[in-house]
Amino acid sequence: MDITVQEFKHCDMITVKGRVDSATAPQLAQALESANDGGKYKLVVNMSDLEYMSSAGFRALLAAQRNCKRYNRGEVVLASVPERIREALELAGFTELFKTFDDPLQAVGHF
């Protein structure tokens, strides 16, 4: 798994590549927490090159969404969610908790 963070004027984009499972989810959680620690609560998680995500990744996203939405200070949105991952998120009832965008820049434009 590989994570890169890009700063935009109104939000940060966290691009996750590769596979997120119980071994790598802590790194994703850490990246999301670091953004929050830096006062960034409007976050785009770009999944265009994400191959796989287990419930360990879903939990990291849920924790971040809770923290970002607190005091109405922001939110986590998902961009370019691959079909298989979207199906699993749907099964877990997570698609109602996150706005999703087909395109990362469209997600950036949301903020």
Binding site: S22, Y52, S54, F58, R84
Partner: protein
């Protein structure tokens, strides 16, 4: 049926997914089924590593997998604490953000992704989790 043993550590999840993925693909399962079989096996193995072997450092996870007559069977055996998936309450998928529980999601996914999930505690301190899925 092929069998491999893994040290019960998260770092082997990649190999665990690859092992069942290869057998499923060779057995004629399509991309979507292969992904879901890998996800269910990952969730099962993660639960064993995290819960069954919570207090045991050098746990071993035995994984068997095979396809016969359009049915894939995956068996995970551990010798850690017993952990019956059927006793874990299902997550409330309609709960809003603040009430959403973090636990139980892996087991919920296993049950949804596979046709059958069966858990058995054997007298010789083995926990046997069997999952099956039929080709559509």
């Amino acid at each position: 049926m092929k069998t491999v043993q893994f040290a019960a550590k998260f770092e082997y999840l990649d190999e665990i997914r690859e092992f069942v993925g290869t057998i499923a693909r060779d057995g004629g399962f399509g991309d979507k089924d292969v992904y879901n079989i890998q996800l269910a096996t990952d969730e099962a193995a993660s639960n064993i590593i995290e819960h069954a072997y919570e207090k045991i450092a050098d746990g071993v996870l035995e994984l068997s997998c095979g396809v016969k007559n359009d049915l894939i069977t995956i068996i995970l055996i551990d010798h850690g604490g017993s952990f019956d998936p059927s006793e874990i309450p299902l997550p409330d998928l309609k709960a809003d953000l603040s009430d959403r529980k973090i636990g139980g999601l892996g087991i919920f996914l296993m049950r949804k992704l596979m046709d059958e999930v069966h858990y058995e505690v054997k007298p010789n301190n083995s926990n046997v989790l069997t999952m099956t899925k039929r080709k559509r």
